[in-house]
Every structure is written in C-alpha cells, then in structure tokens.
Amino acid sequence: MELHRFPGGIHPEEHKKESSSRPIHAAFVPKKLVVPMRQHIGQPAKPIVRVGDHVLKGQMIAEADGYVSVALHAPSSGIVTEIGLASVPHPSGLPDLCITIATDGRDEWCERTPVDWRNTDPAALRGHVRDFGIAGLGGAVFPTSIKLDPAGGPAIHTLILNGGECEPWITCDDRLMRERAEDILEGARIMQHLIGAEKLIAGIEDNKPEAIAAMRTAAQKIGVAIKVIAMPTIYPGGGGKQITKTLTGLDTPSGGRTTDVGVQVFNVGTSYALSRALNHGEPLVSRIVTVTGHVLRPQNYEVLIGTPMSELLLHAGEREGLTGIIMGGPMMGFDVPAMDVPVVKASNCVLAKSKELFPPRPPEMPCIRCTQCVPVCPAELQPQQLYWFARAKDLGRAQEYHLFDCIECGCCSYVCPSHIPLVDYYRFAKSEIWAREKEKRLADTARERHEFRLFRLEREKKEKAERLAAKAATKKAEAPVLSKEEQDAKKKLIQEALARAQARKATVTPKNTDNLPPEKQAEIAEIEARRAKIREIANQPVEPEKP
C-alpha cells in the first residue's frame, strides 16, 4: 500500500524504550478513588448515587447528561464518601465535581452483561456504548457513541485504528497492541458494524515492530480483514488528520473533520474498551497508563479511573528530585496542579519531571521572523503570523489565518530558536474567541428577551384597555330600555323622594341646643343671623361694580 507524507512534523527524542520493555502491570486498588464528572468532552455526567451508598465495581455512579456526554462507573467496590469539589487534572488548577469512593479492597464486580451487538438496533447499541462510559482514549475523550453514528454526515468508507502513538515517552498503546491485540480487533469489528466502512486499516508507527507483528497475528487468528500498516515515525503522525493523510492520501478540508473525506479514526485503546464493554459487559473503569520519566521503574499500568497520581508514582518508585507531573506527553501534555489529582479517561501518560529531564523553558526572546516554524507545521499554517496576531490580541486576523486549524501539536514551539511558547498564545487566542462568541450569544438572548418584554408590556396595556372598554360597553348594553312614561315616572319618584327628604330636614332641630345657658343661645342666634344674611347676599344677583 502506498503511503503519503503529511506536511511538516519533527523528530523529537523518542524515550519509548524506558517503559515499553516491561509488560502491563495489573490493576491495583488504591484506598481512595476520586472520579471527576467532567472527563469527556461535552456535558459533565450527573451523579446518581448518594453519600453513604455502597457501590460495586462497574456500577453506574453518574449518568450521561444529554447527547454529548457519557456515563461513569465505580472503578472498584466501596462506599461513596463524598460528592463535591476536588482537584482534577486540568491546566487551570480549578476544582470540579467529583465522586469520592473509599474502596473496600474486595474489588467486587457488579453483574456484567455482554451485549449481543450483532442483533441489536444500532441506536440502542450506541446508547449502550454511552452507558458503558466509552469515550476516545487517545486524548480528546470525545464520546464514542457520537462518532459511531453515521447519520447526518458523509458516508464513511474507511475506518482507521490509530496506533500511531507519536508523542515521545508514551507507550501505553504499544503495550496494549502487543498484549491485547485480539480485543482491539474485536472492538474494530463492532465499529465497522456500526459505521459500515468498507476498509479497515490500522496505522502503527514503525518504531513499534512488536505491536505491528502482534496485530497482524491476531488479525489472522480471529479473522478480521484489516490492513496493519507500518508508518514512518514522525511527530505528530498520530494526529487524526495526519494519519488520514498518511494512510489514504486524503486531505481534510480547512475547518473540517476527517469524516468530511469519509474517514473515521479511533484510538486502539478506545477500540479495546469498546470490545471489553460490549463483549464482556465491563464498562470503562480502567485504562492503560504509561508511568515514566523520573521514576525508578518506568512501566505501563492498568489503572483504575480515579486513582491518585501520587499513588501511581509510589508504585513505580518515586525518586528524589521530582519537580512535578505532566499528564500526557511532553509535546501536548500539561502540568497537573497537584500530585494527588486522579487518573482520568484522558490520562494516557503520567510523566514525572525532574530538572535534568525537563529543564525549565529558557526565557522567551523576541520573534526574529526566521520562519523555522512554518515548514514544521502539520496544518500548513503560518505560526509566526498567528503568534503576531495572538500577541496583539488581533483575534479577527488570527482567525483569518486559520487559527482553528491549529492542532496544538507544539512542533512550532519545539523548533523556535527564541523559545517562544507559541502554542500558549494560540490557546489563549482560541479560548478568548470562544469566550467572546459565548458573550455575544448571551447578549443576543438578552436583547431578544428585553424586546419581548417591551412587546409584552405594550400588549398587556392594550389588552387591559380593551377589557375595560368591553366591560363598559356590556354594562351599557345590559341596562333595560325604558319608555318615555316609565322614565318620567322614575324621575317623578326621585323628585318626590328628594322633596320628602328636604321637608324632614327642615322639621328637625338640632337636639344639642336644648338646655343651654342664655348667653350661648344668644351666640347661636347671632351666628344664625349672620348666616342668614350671608345667604341673602349670596342669593342677590351680582351687580357689576360701578366706577
């Protein structure tokens, strides 16, 4: 098969030998497991257990919340001791919602029910995949159930199993392929069943000959029609778009995905997890993690999700002079905020740092426009221009130069003679653009709501006026119609009643004037006289004053 060369790329020191020679260490059960709710892209999972609940290994403890989400399961049996904020492996160092389980050491499984995937409706099957907590284990942790949904997109003709593992130091996929190739291929079978791709290719970099051999042997043994291809070792050859180019020669359009050219890419770890879930009924509760760098025994471990990284380091033999932990590789990974953050679905590697292995980055020097970053960029961007715009916060121009095609592989920063942390600038620019778009959406909603409120107030005012008018009209309409005589009779009655009332008033004398001393009587008489006079004056017609 003809291989194609993707643009750019570099050859960093591999450092794979350290951890690839030893077999995968079996899972151990730590005293405490901290399971973050936000381990995948999309909506965080929603806890469905309470503090004090006893949970079994593999029991669902949080359900998928919406379409872009997956469920989470207890990685071991024990008691839920806390549901609250705890530190998680994230570059921000901010805490997030986690379920903490105190393990009982028995590691007792709940009932495991395999799914007969060949005879299950595809939509229901994808629901199972989501409820088994399967998300991409290559690093992006995108819910696998969505990637397995062929509807709404162009037809997929090629399914690629990604065993590139191009980042230095990391060997978890290498060991997984060497030791558990059959399950990986069983998983690929399920994927092919759901997506309906004709071609199945596994791409593995040629620095992993044992893995290539193991995959080929397993494919023959279980009878899966797959091409296992050895690819040249170039970083970032394991990127989705890069491996697609290498194996199929197809270029992913700017701003698009590999599915736009009919190719879907899955990490081998994801395929393995899918097979374990559907064929064996085991949800995603553990993953293979490379523990390497500044440790005594670099090795791959099967690690329960939620295991504190510090405990993992103890197992691998912690050494003097540890300066921190990188989650992921040295190119795309990030420093975790604390040693005891848990291993999550995205943790393919726990890389212990020391001053010798990872000296602090030299201070940033000015960009000299040497453009060494341009030929290494696998996305064919102009990193020096993007840097310029991101630095000046000219986000619009950065987008014009296809900032969002950047895969943050770090090749440009790696070759930069001025040691500029270029990717940090791109990440800053990207998240700033996202934040502004979000703000814009919120402002638009607010405008809409305000306009609707004004409309509503106006409408209510109008409705009230109409209601009052209608009420007045009905009152008038309901009044009985009287003839002339009836009206006259009514008027007469009123007149008579008025006359009676006046007559009664005239006869009544105030009672409080009896038994008064004579001087008071005189005073009252005087006042009455004055009143009478005034009344008389008031009754006289007013004569115009003469000059």
Partner: protein
C-alpha cells in the same frame, strides 16, 4: 441650442425617475447604524448610560446626542469598538455613569423575600420568576447583572454575586513569564 437643453432636461428627468424608483425599491428599513451600534453594546439593559436600555442609547449615539463612553458594562473595550465603528478617537469611560464591574448575577435571599413582585417589574429581561406573595428567584442564566432589581426591593434581599470562574468558563491566560532580577 434648444435641442441641447431639451436633451439635458430629458436625461435629468429619466435619471430622476430611476433614482426615485431605486429609493422606493431598495429602501432600508430603520437606521443600519443603530443596528451596528446596538450589536456592540452589551445588552445589559441597565440604563447606566442615561437611556432606558441599550437600543435607545444606540439611537442616541447614532443621532449624535450621546457620547460613546457612557456604557460601564461595555468597558474600555466597548468604547474602543464604538470608536472604531464611528471613526472617532476612543476616550476614557465617563465615570459619572458608573465604573466597570466584574460580571455578576442577582441573587435573592429566599428567607427574606416577601413576594412583592417589585423586582420582577424592574427586571428588563424577565429573568426573575415569581408571583404576588410567592417566593421569587433569579434565573441566573438569563440575568444580565444590570442591578435594576436591587434598589426596588423593600427588604433588601437581593445581592449581586460576582460570577466565579469554573472549568466551563475558564480561559487560557495570556502567556506571561516571570522576570527575575539578576543583579
């Protein structure tokens, strides 16, 4: 001579008719400038600019009645964008209209709320839920942080809570590196 005058007059009449027709046919509804200004304003609807909402302020700017630096929620950046749009020099925010504060949302202490509905009537975006003599609550996702509900509350049970950064709203920071004193 007469022919020339007639020809010119004829052309003038024809062109006038064309222009008149175009003016009717391609009439622009509303003032497009107001729309552009309104798109920049933060839609807080707080009235700190002295106008009853963002759109009236946008209209006032378009007419030249209001200055561009009267919107504290928009901040310096908003002023800059308006200046760019209108082709004028940006100027510092007019502090008589208030200062830029971190984005907050209103919070009703439900133990104190008496259900008077005054805040509901004050809210410009209908983000407060409740009815007479019933508990009120703020729909945080719709609240613009305008503070208009705070003053009318007779029992002072509304407070403005600044939004905290969490994993969903976190942003990568502008790269900086430490300067070390060497001598």
């Amino acid at each position: 001579m007469l022919a020339a005058i007639l020809v010119m007059a004829g052309i003038a009449v024809v062109l006038g008719a064309v222009l008149g027709f175009a003016a009717l046919k391609y009439k622009v509804e509303g003032d497009p400038m107001v729309e552009k200004i309104d798109a920049i304003l933060p839609q807080t609807q707080c009235g700190q600019c002295g106008y009853p909402g963002c759109r009236p302020y946008a209209e006032a700017i378009a007419k030249g009645e209001a200055d561009i630096n009267q919107c504290p929620p928009g901040g310096e950046e908003g002023v800059k964008k308006l200046a760019e749009l209108l082709g004028v020099e940006p100027k510092p925010l007019d502090e008589t209209h208030g200062v830029t504060k971190p984005k907050s949302v209103a919070f009703i202490d439900e133990n104190l709320c008496i259900g008077c509905t005054l805040c509901i009537q004050a809210c410009p975006v209908d983000a407060i839920l409740g009815a007479a003599k019933q508990m009120h609550t703020v729909i945080a996702s719709e609240c613009t942080g305008c503070e208009l509900c705070v003053a009318p509350c007779p029992v002072d049970c509304i407070s403005m809570v600044p939004l905290k950064e969490d994993l969903a709203s976190w942003k990568w920071k502008y790269p900086v590196f430490e300067l070390k004193q060497v001598a």
